[in-house]
């Protein structure tokens, strides 16, 4: 039973078509990589999926229910949320307060705080709970966003470049954490990432966007042999990395 | 029917003036990206400048209005340098309360300096009206309208045909790029702000023949000015003029249906609705 079904999603900003007739279905517990050159429309697609952007055309169903055009908090309540590419933690709060706020969606204050501590623990940031967001490094903030998103207890989590600025070892750690989220908690993940190595290792399936269009949908092996994908990236080398 | 046409004509005449009064607001927003709550006080300052020019120098209000323009420019530039400068990048709260504070200072400053009496001018053409068929064209309105149009043309030429105008437009579109091209953006901000307040002061000068001066004269125009600018699109000069005419007509025509005190009520409702549903106005940028 597909958990998320997108049909001909299109977003137009005046004359610019940012997302062009994108259709796909996602099964529960999949880990899907969303890749494509810069400006391909990945972040716009994410914004549409969580309700920050209204599609100009097309539809989206979550668990069989229509969600396009609904407000983000409604979609969050249904079980889908995302992280922000340039991190959007609430600046004047501590990390814990940030995550607690998200926990308030489904729990009263005390439980929300407890849940927040747990989420921070999952991403390895528990010791930074009381630190003001301003004092965190960029990678810490990116992970902080993941913790906050987790506190809404989602079923589908959209991750927008959470591994930027990480060392290879840290990246392995995050990949491990993300896999656990799927294996232990049954989450479905859609991940946007520019680090090819990371995304190839993490994803079981890849969606490739180029100029707003979905040009490939398959396993990493299939996709890396796909001519159009190779052309889009203008780099035959990438096709060799798994 | 002729009553309707009369109100339409009056509305257009008054509206043209509203346009010039409000265009300064648009300019300030377009270039400095701030909403200047104190703008209407410069109208009052312009009126006083024009009145003193009439009382002590015998200048006709339209001529005095040019003096008002200079005074409004100088005072505005000073305010910008001393105060507004500091909050250009500050949060909205700071912007709002700085200009609200300025509004209060200017209005009460005028009260302290000039007292609360209403002052008026007397011009030879004050009570004359031209007859055009069934329509009366009030000469003071007409004269003010012509002055407003003339000033609008001058402004258009300034913005589009001079180096300064280009610099202003460049700064309003992309400040950093303008800087890179050697434009002293701080100076442009001062000039643009001064120009904006000067234009509003000019508007004050030209309406002297039919409006009375007092320290609170500006306050009555606050919401009106913003309605003009929101309808026309914040940041758009052409839009301000079109918006002005629209507001003038709405105000004028509404007197056919309701008591004069409620005239502005209609305007306020139009304003709130325009902000909510039509934030980009006719020609300009978004208010959200």
């Amino acid at each position: 039973m597909t958990i998320l079904q997108a049909q001909d999603l299109t977003v137009r900003f005046g004359g610019l078509v940012a997302v062009n007739g994108v259709s796909f279905g996602i099964e529960p517990k999949e880990i899907i990589g969303l890749i494509g050159p810069n400006g391909a429309g990945k972040t716009t697609l994410f914004s549409m999926m969580v309700g920050l952007q209204r599609p100009t055309a097309g539809s989206m169903h979550f668990d069989g229910q229509r969600i396009d055009g609904r407000r983000p908090h409604v979609i969050a309540r249904q079980g889908m949320t995302k992280t922000f590419q340039n991190t959007a933690l609430f600046p004047e709060m501590t990390l814990l307060d940030n995550v607690t706020t998200a926990g308030l969606l489904r729990h009263p204050l005390r439980e929300a705080r407890a849940l927040a501590v747990d989420c921070l623990d999952r991403v390895g940031l528990k010791q930074f709970a009381d630190i003001d967001v301003d004092d965190l490094t960029f990678p810490q903030r990116a992970l902080g966003e993941v913790a906050r998103a987790l506190a809404t207890q989602p079923r589908v989590l959209l991750l927008d470049e959470v591994m930027a600025a990480l060392t290879p070892m840290e990246m392995d750690g995050v990949i491990q954490t993300l896999r656990e989220l799927r294996d232990r908690d049954g989450l479905t993940l859609v991940v946007v990432e520019h680090h090819m190595r990371a995304i190839m290792r993490l994803s079981e399936r890849l969606l490739v966007l180029n100029f707003g269009k979905l040009i490939a949908d398959g396993s990493p092996a299939e996709v890396s042999q796909n001519e159009e994908v190779i052309k889009a990236y203008l780099g035959g080398d990438h096709a060799q990395h798994h | 029917m002729s009553a309707l046409i009369q109100t339409l004509v009056d509305g257009v005449l008054i509206g043209g003036v509203y346009g010039v009064i409000a265009v300064g607001l648009s300019l300030v927003f377009g270039v400095l990206k701030i909403v200047n709550f104190a703008q209407a006080e410069f109208l009052m300052i312009g009126m006083y400048a024009g009145w003193f020019a009439w009382a002590h120098l015998g200048l006709d209000p339209i001529v005095g209005a040019f003096l008002a323009l200079l005074i409004g420019f100088a005072l505005g530039a000073l305010c910008q340098r001393l105060f507004v400068q500091h909050i250009l990048n500050a949060p909205a709260v700071a912007q709002i309360f700085l200009t609200v504070g300025l509004l209060t200072v200017l209005e009460n400053g005028a009260l302290l300096l000039f007292g609360s009496d209403f002052r008026t001018v007397r011009t030879p053409y004050q009570t004359i009206a031209l007859e055009l068929g069934p329509i009366f064209l009030s000469v003071p309105y007409l004269v003010a309208f012509v002055a407003a149009v003339a000033m609008s043309v001058l402004l258009f030429l300034l913005l589009n045909r001079t180096w300064l105008g280009r610099a202003i437009r460049a700064t309003s579109q992309d400040r950093d790029a303008a800087c890179l091209f050697g434009i002293d953006t701080r100076l442009i901000y001062t000039i643009a702000f001064g120009l904006g307040t000067g234009l509003t002061a000019f508007g004050g000068g030209i309406i002297l023949s039919y409006a009375a001066v007092s320290p609170t004269a500006g306050a009555q125009f606050v919401v009106l000015m913003f309605t003009v600018v929101v309808l026309g699109g914040l940041g758009s000069v052409m839009g301000a003029l079109v918006g002005g005419v629209i507001v003038g007509v709405i105000q004028s025509v509404s007197t056919l249906f309701m008591p004069i005190q409620l005239q502005n009520l209609v305007l306020f409702i139009v304003f709130i609705t325009a902000l909510a549903f039509w934030p980009q106005g006719l020609l300009g940028r978004a208010a959200r």
Binding site: E92, D130 | V93, L111, V223, Q261, L262, L265, I272
Partner: protein
């Protein structure tokens, strides 16, 4: 937060002590009432302007609605202000709701402008309905002498209890909003609406709740004001300068978004205002607002970030959520969660 609550309680107690010790018809008690009134008004504004960061320049609308509602009910039907005050609060909430429909998504200065227009619209309406409100001539609370039932007294003495009471109530409401679940939600909405929405916060509803509560309490303050001054007109209760901007000024001078801000602001501003009007009243009308305008400009210039950062920064955070108090993960809760995940 505890310090602020103590300060609030102290001020209230001090006021009541003075009420019993000083001459009830004296000048000082009158000032005490005005201070409490100003602090209450400022605190009401603080709820939306401070906690929700929705800068309102139209709070006079709700103040006037409260004042007129209870007074008209008294004049026309002899209804006691103890009931009239609730009618005013209800009417103000309806007005706030109606206003929120077109304005809820507006940002910063545009929201402020819309509220300004709304306040002015209310003033014009009140002036244009002489049948109901007495029009520009104003309206008077019918004088019955000392009466708790009709909420009016001959001297300022008993009014202190009323004002102190409302002040404490409004402060408690503020504290509940700032430090509980709503505190988190309001802060989130204030700092990043998009992120808040995506994290499950219904931003429009949070903003609406804040504005309804603020409107109702402002109306209550208006009713008390009416009972205190007996006579008022549209110009005075719907005044942009003396009510709307004043409310904001008091909160700002004392510290926006903090519990103690408005009382500190009131303690500074009200005596200053009295001083200025007494010494300069005939020669220089307008001296007080002139000085307040300068103060406002000064506060903004000297601490532009201070207007915002006061409510969030390390010391003196209004949502003084003592992170050190964050309880460790509740074991029972965690066990339940793990059990749930495994099934």
């Amino acid at each position: 937060m505890k310090r602020s609550l103590i300060l609030v309680a102290l001020v209230a107690v001090l006021a009541i002590v003075l009420a019993n010790v000083l001459d009830p018809r004296g000048y000082i008690l009158r000032i005490v009432c005005l201070i409490l009134l100003a602090a209450t008004l400022g605190q009401c504004w603080n709820i939306v302007g401070g906690l929700a960061n929705q800068i309102s320049l139209g709070h006079a609308a709700f103040f006037g609605i409260g004042a007129y509602c209870s007074t008209v009910l008294q004049v026309k039907w002899g209804i006691t202000p103890w009931l009239g005050i609730f009618a005013g609060m209800l009417l103000a909430m309806v007005a706030a709701f109606i206003l929120s429909l077109p304005t809820m998504r507006l940002k910063g200065p545009y929201f402020a402008l819309a509220t300004l227009a709304f306040g002015e619209a209310c003033r014009i309406l009140a002036t244009a309905m002489p049948g109901v409100t007495g029009g520009p001539q104003g309206i008077s609370v019918p004088f019955v002498g000392d009466s708790w039932a009709m909420m009016q007294f001959k001297g300022a003495g008993n009014y202190v209890y009323l004002f102190a009471g409302l002040f404490v109530i409004v402060s408690i409401v503020f504290a509940l909003l700032a430090y509980g679940k709503m505190g988190y939600l309001l802060r989130a909405v204030r700092e990043n609406e998009e992120a808040a929405e995506v994290s499950g916060v219904n931003t429009l509803r949070v903003k609406l709740i804040g504005s309804l509560i603020s409107a109702a309490l402002t109306a209550a303050t208006g009713t008390l004001f009416a009972q205190f001054t007996f006579f008022f007109d549209p110009e005075s209760v719907f005044s942009v300068a003396h009510i709307s901007i004043h409310a904001a000024l008091i909160a700002i001078v004392g510290g926006v978004g903090t519990l103690a801000g408005p009382i500190i602001g009131a303690l500074l501003i009200v005596p200053l205002e009295e001083l200025l009007t007494t010494y300069f009243s005939n020669d220089a009308a307008g001296i007080a607002p002139f000085i307040f305008g300068l103060i406002l400009v000064a506060v903004v210039i000297l601490r532009p970030r201070g207007l915002v950062s006061i409510f969030g920064r390390r010391r003196g955070r209004p949502s003084g959520l003592q992170q050190r108090d964050a309880p460790p993960a509740d074991p029972a809760f965690m066990a339940k969660k793990r059990a749930g995940a495994e099934s």
